[in-house]
Symmetry: D2
Subunit: 339 residues, 4 copies
């Protein structure tokens, strides 16, 4: 890290900074600039983010600038090859584009079986559906909970599609892991560190959604929480960030795809349904995501969007999903992948 | 709610919308505008946010606009008088300004006792300190956990100051509630609905921090989660939101004080330490918060900020905290309150 | 528009609101809701945004909600067919994808001729280059001004490519229009209404860049300024918005492509160079833009990016631009267009 | 500046970076870290922001980090004492709080005289009013132009209050400067560099409003444009930034007051009317601004807000302005100032 000193720093203050650097096992290198002195502190920053705060609190210090990225296990430097993550029969991050489809909420046996069957026939290779629902209002439908997990399991048995479903409470991780093939962390829980730690201990892949106001650095640090507990199977999912623009529900940060592919070996999935909030924007954003190099798509499909318990406005009818799959297929092939 | 129809909506589509409104127990009122038809749907919106999504999913509908605020128990309309919340000896929201001070993390017996004693003498009326710490990096100090809670309890016994401390995991609520007088929800957990529901069932006040990405509406909906489970004692705390500006750690949304005071009966506390991230900005922001009408301040104080385990750069030394208290006192009096 | 009244509004206040609505040539329609009364005001909102403010200022009024979009000439309702804009030999918005390439700044005769020739051979169909440069620092290179315009003209003569170049000062519009085929408004001037009005009076197309802080609604209102003065040839260009994310220079709002295509008949161009700020992100974002349905791309190319006077880090070398064109060509074809 | 090299940079690339640094008159200092090599480039960065781009474009370079602030004349290092700016009879930045009040738009002789007289009696020491109005819609009232300037002049003659008024077009600077005592740059023009340069040549003070998405650094760079042309009299005005929050028109960045006071010697004024957009939030934000250390307030007052041509919802009636002045007076005194 680089310590920038104030213009009027005293020699004693400079010495104290250098002593503190050494005391933490780092080596100080002083550079005298035209208007400022800076001190480079050489050492392994990964496990020393605390030293940055310490130096930043010292008299005479104007700024402390990190050199290394704060994540380690998530980074390309420790593992350059792309991670390909096995999800009970489908591998995300490899030659095939992941196409994860299904309803926002699991609502009933009939709704779940109908959707599972139709997305399977359209070409989806994984099934999504929420049994535990994080809703802004306490008066909204909160999910069928274990009953919903059972319906997902049944849908899997009939279609063979692996199941992705959300877990919200660290206390439910074991329960959800009994039914799900991939455990999803929702955007609002991206920095729910108790949950992340718990997920680091299970032996199933985790699909981690980026929060509405999570930087790419913080997103990778949240992945690092799971990785550092021992679970190597993390799938990243961008679902739109919050900005000043209100024409769409969120703003799809499409550039995060190549940025993440450069920074990390973990696969990157895009959720154009939540990113836009409108079903008619889902297909163009799905094409853009594929063209940008995403490893997968996560799309909300409902047999009867008007009567969906949640997220109806952004859900595709099965017939529209069929068309979407046909329309993105040539783009997937241009990117050297298959569906 | 108001349903705006598209310019080219067919009579059948209009009829379907009106039928759906009636089916949900609402009454439709049609207004034919110059370029658009709109339908007012009259009914109790509080428990019907789902109807908005339903209508928004229907063919021919361009937009659905809510009229009522989505929160009910948190709103002034159901309870106009300010809530005054008893916190084992100190009441927040009444005549006295809450001055909650203490270290970011509980680090040791000596650190905690020294800080508690010094903030008490300076004029603080509540004590803060984290035993469970939400940290961006898994490699950072994560808190002393139950050991920290015990030290907080000891500090309370020696100073008489009620304790505010964070709980992150729904599974820890019972444990933390055994030691704390006020349970804090951190900014990253403001939409951790599993945690909020659990906190709705305890009989101790909750200090709910606004998230970096949380609108005022969503903030009140998170309070509504706690209130709707039966716990009426919620204290709101603004600690800065995330914006494009990087000169400060977050952007203190000072105008949320009068906006919240207009919308809700719940007390509003400002945390200028997290909002700014720099100790030298804490005092001017504390003055501004008092002048804006806040019911309290939450301020990080550490006997030795350079060696703090966390948040050193934004922590005040005890001597600076003494001066802050003296400097804000006349502002508190101008606002008709005492310290 | 819809006027939402406060819960405790008096009959006199209601009457005053209705009178004010009538006084402005609108017709009031009252709806009595469960907790609130709302009044629909029927009339042509386009030229009446002032009425919204008037009503919003009246006692007893809680909120005023517009129903119609504030733009008229820019909207699909007044002109449903896509506008195809002639730019002295190349038409934007039609069957061919616009590929506007060139250096950030015009720097010298050799740099300009070399770039023009190489982008022409790679497949560009228009040439960009700045003679007047808006720079954050007054100490940065500010452009060659008229000398630069002459070099652009010369580059056009030798390659046949129409010229796009920026104008910053209303007083320079006439000068720039003598040389340029398309006049560009930079992101920082998107709400420079003096400049927009002046450009509404010229007979050359205007390429209007969205500002870092401009909503899609405001963007279309800025286009409306130009259209309402009589110039029908406006090309919209998204170049990234400002958000909290700093991994890229700006955040490319890719979803604005289908949103704009739904709202307006004007062509939409994407600038992936400014949107990302890194040359290695330009190609994936160019592919995504094409796949999302953009009518064109605007890309910075420089023969020697390291020695560019501006924007070197986001400029492509000619050889990389050749590869980009080859790589996007099949995507362009999939979208039913040619290069 | 600090150049961070990639992990796998070749010795030739390192040498090329060092050569480029020397070629630009800087001195390179190499530091070999654990995972990265960094090179400090020592020289006067103020006039060398281009070198950052050059280095950032070179192969092997991962990042270039500035050490010095990009502004020079605006900074405290070149001039530590607060600038006190004479505005024809009232000095901003000294012992008295600037209280700039008046209507959003100059509308008529009667409106202007009535407002001027009432704000004068209430305690205002400067008069505001717009003759050239930047409006989002081309169909909104655009101002009385020179006729408005004449009315402002007349209002000044009758009250003695110096006049602050906006100029939008570089071509109008001379005209506006003939009537105004202080020339205002609106938020949308904060990076209208043609206008800023023109204002750098006049001999009247400039009140520069921060844009909705302008960082504090960029804001000071815009001030630097004016200062570097020779005009030393720049007054900074914060009027709210754009964020995701929609409960207020903008988000008042109150912490910018102490941040700007630390960075610059220029006076800082707060506009709580535009920052909030609601008249009932103006007084609490005015108190907060004074308590935060602002040098002045800019407040919209209109004799009949309901019938104001613009900004009615955020304008105070004269009687409410009288009360505001009385209520902020003791806060002003606590800050060691007079009104």
């Amino acid at each position: 890290m680089i310590v920038v000193l104030k213009a009027d720093t005293s020699p004693e203050e400079v010495q104290a900074v250098k002593d503190k650097i050494k005391e933490n096992g780092f080596t100080p290198h002083e550079i005298q600039g035209v208007e400022r002195k800076v001190i480079g502190a050489v050492g392994d920053e990964h496990f020393k983010d605390h030293l940055m705060e310490v130096l930043d609190s010292m008299p005479g210090v104007e700024d402390v600038i990190p050199i290394l990225k704060p994540y380690k296990l998530a980074g390309r430097e420790i593992k350059n090859a792309n991670s390909v993550i096995e999800c009970d029969g489908f591998a995300i991050g490899g030659d095939r584009l992941a196409l994860i489809a299904g309803p926002c909420s699991v609502e009933s046996h009939d709704q779940m079986m109908a959707t599972a069957s139709s997305v399977k026939h359209a070409g989806a290779n994984m099934l999504r559906g929420g049994a535990f629902k994080p809703r802004t209002s306490p008066y909204s439908f909160q999910g069928l909970e274990e009953e919903g997990l059972k319906l997902l399991k049944e849908a899997k048995e009939s279609t063979g599609l692996p199941i992705v479903t959300e877990v919200m409470n660290p206390g439910d991780v074991e329960l959800v892991a009994r039914y799900a093939d991939v455990l999803q962390v929702g955007a609002r829980n991206v920095q729910n560190f108790s949950l992340l730690k718990e997920l680091g201990k299970v032996s199933k892949p985790v699909l981690l959604k980026r929060g509405m106001m999570t930087t790419i650095k913080e997103f990778l640090m949240s992945a690092e929480y799971i990785l550092s507990e021992g679970n190597k199977d993390v799938i990243l999912c961008e679902r739109g960030i919050r900005t000043f623009e209100t024409a769409t529900r969120n703003t799809l940060d499409i550039a995060c795809v190549p940025v993440l592919k450069r920074e990390t070996h973990l696969p990157v999935v895009i959720d154009p349904s939540h990113a836009t909030g409108h079903w008619d924007l889902v297909e163009p954003m799905a094409r853009a995501a594929v063209a940008a190099g995403a490893d997968g798509l996560m799309i909300e499909v409902h047999p009867d969007p008007v009567n969906a318990f949640s997220d109806g406005p952004q859900s595709l009818k099965p017939s529209k999903f069929v068309r979407l799959v046909e329309n993105i297929r040539p783009f997937v092939q241009l990117m050297g992948r298959t569906l």
